[in-house]
Assembly symmetry: C2
Homo-oligomer: 245 residues x 2
């Protein structure tokens, strides 16, 4: 339809990068794109830590579950939900901030994601590519310590950015009828549609791995969701003041 | 730097629209842009309800706190975090999904926000504009009933989209040094920087309202955060299976 739409629809996660660096002025332009995203009630709850220290980068490879591109990408950014700034601002006006409730957790988390997705899109528009690192939550307490995050700041995800050295095929998405509904939620046909989609995903993995990986979307999901992921998160969020104890 | 970056940086929330409609094939193209966003462990946890029914639209005006553009915009979309689909998929494989824990709540919510921000950017690229409606959470139980959302589906926010009939000035954002840190979190100079920024925000409101509104960022934030917003959210999320009771 237009170049922006082509850019968005052609996205895939890139984990291999050339040695080319990303200049600081470019990085700052990307961050300004993030800041320009909508922010709930103007809270501006996103803080980004750019990790330049090689030693910290290497530690983050381990802490995110052994993802080497966390060290090798030109840039590694940690996107944090930050309500510490608001606590500070309340103190400036001698008022006491209420914190630790679900609504604030949602607005801060959403703020971060809208911000980050603008950074990703802006990066892509400059020929850069990257990948989100949810693995930042694998050892979230250690990551928080490493980056000296205060209470009321939590790392939502990381992002590797660099000039791409691979061009992965885009992964097929769920059929539109499953994700877009009119006027009300109804999932009467979704099982059938997902079974059809499963074949497509199986074929995608088969062709991408030369036949060594064969799984469908529903198999992958059901295998993954039978156990709780990152069970430490609730305790961590309580410790950091994001959820009431 | 380029047109995409200009587009992202020039964004502002638009609440007045012309009568021009948005064709369904365009809307579907936008949704596909949303789907192309990264999704944590391929969970694809976003479902969008496009609300076309006039009666429901009018009810949503009231339920979101009296925002008339929820009815008047060409399109109104409700972006939902959806783990019901995954429950269904687990049932297809005779397995039982673990749900109600913090990590899953984060991944589903982030998925929705990344998806939605792509929709917003794609819309902008076609000359459309819009506004996020966090007010969908004002009366979230009633909204969920109106849209027949099952357990494990929660509306994160709404979005009005249309052809713009206004071109609001962009709202000044926090200085870069407050939101971008290197290697570690440190906020030693933030109070001072925010005080400077406060003057800029005060001037923005003064010029936009012809002097009738005069407030700074820190005043606005501290006035807002002294009380808990949407205190019903925690109970709602428990009732819907998103947080363990």
């Amino acid at each position: 339809m237009n170049e922006v739409i082509n850019l968005l629809q052609a996205r895939s996660s890139v984990r291999k990068f050339t040695d080319q660096e990303i200049a600081q002025d470019i990085l700052e332009e990307l961050i300004k794109c993030g800041q320009a995203a909508a922010t709930s009630s103007f809270i501006q709850a996103c803080t980004v830590i750019q990790v330049e220290d090689k030693n910290k980068r290497n530690q983050l490879v381990d802490l995110t579950g052994g993802q080497p591109y966390v060290a090798s990408a030109a840039r590694f950014l940690v996107f944090c939900a930050d309500m510490n700034r608001h606590k500070l601002v309340c103190e400036m006006h001698n008022s006491k901030m209420e914190s630790g409730y679900a609504e604030q957790f949602i607005t801060a988390t959403v703020d971060v994601a809208l911000f980050a997705q603008n950074v990703m899109t802006a990066a892509q528009s400059l020929g850069l590519a990257g990948v989100y690192i949810g693995g930042i939550r694998n050892n979230i307490a250690e990551v928080s310590e490493l980056l000296e995050l205060p209470t009321l700041v939590y790392p939502v995800f990381g992002m590797c950015l660099g000039y791409p050295a691979q061009d992965p095929e885009t992964k097929p998405r769920l059929p539109l009828s499953v994700v877009l509904k009119t006027d009300r939620y109804q999932d009467d046909n979704d099982s059938k549609t997902i079974s059809e989609y499963d074949k497509q995903v199986r074929e995608y993995y088969r062709s991408r791995t030369g036949g060594t990986k064969e799984t469908s979307w529903s198999e992958q999901i059901s295998d993954m969701l039978v156990k709780e992921a990152r069970p430490h998160m609730k305790t961590y969020l309580k410790d950091r003041g994001f959820i009431l104890k």
